[in-house]
């Protein structure tokens, strides 16, 4: 069973590399059951959008 610390690391790594199928499945399940990590996942994706937006300003 994945814990939140592992999930946040995988969320971050998913921005820089292709996760393996088992990693994707385990992470997806964890995000489904954990609102904190689900929020974290959305926020990390938002940070990338914000940096790109910052470049355009």
């Amino acid at each position: 069973m994945m814990n939140c610390k592992q999930a946040t690391r995988l969320v971050s790594q998913s921005q820089d590399r292709e996760l393996s199928l088992p990693e994707r499945i385990r992470l997806r399940f964890h995000l489904f059951i954990c609102s904190g990590c689900s929020n974290y996942n959305k926020q990390i994706a938002f940070l990338r959008k914000a940096i790109h937006k910052l470049r355009e300003r």
């Binding site: 814990n3 939140c4 610390k5 592992q6 946040t8 690391r9 971050s12 790594q13 921005q15 820089d16 590399r17 954990c34 609102s35 904190g36 990590c37 929020n39 974290y40 959305k42 926020q43 990390i44 938002f46 940070l47 990338r48 959008k49 914000a50 940096i51 937006k53 910052l54 470049r55 300003r57």
Partner: protein, 197 residues
Amino acid sequence: MDKNAVHASHSGYVDAEQVASMREEMLRFTTLQLRDAVLAEDIVHEAISAAISTAKFNGRGSLKSWVFAILRNKIIDVIRERSRYPTESFIEDNDNDDEAFDGRDHWKKTHKPSDWGQPEKNFDNEQFWVIFEICLNHLPANTSRVFMMREHLGLELKEVCRELNLSDSNAWVIMHRARSQLRKCLENNYIRGGRLS
């Protein structure tokens, strides 16, 4: 054609005035990456000079993209030079995220990420950008260097590792810490409406 226009070897030309008009944006871009306004001035000056004098713009794509590609390469040269003489370790000691998790490595109630709703709505809010830049500048120097090379300069992580002589696993740790710290800074100082530290 403007007297400042410089003909290129192919179908395009480099308009010196047009390039110079990008200076402010180039300065901002460079300062964000290098955190050194004086050095940024020098780099931008070099990039503009190179763009005007080499005149290799072939007219395909936008002039801005081409000028920024020159600037990007100059910034990478500086970072490469700096990383030859590192003044501190890339993995900094004071930034681990253990305090956010309990003994079973699940979120502590006090650190659990809250729901930000639709954060993109903040893109029109000047206050958001002020705090966002402050949070970026609060990242430890080496963490910021790696993070900004990846996210701001747009390099693949493999390229960042090669330029800075980092292992993949070190780079992942650094990127994770940078994202977590930036997220936490935004949550504490903007989302929750707290005061800036």
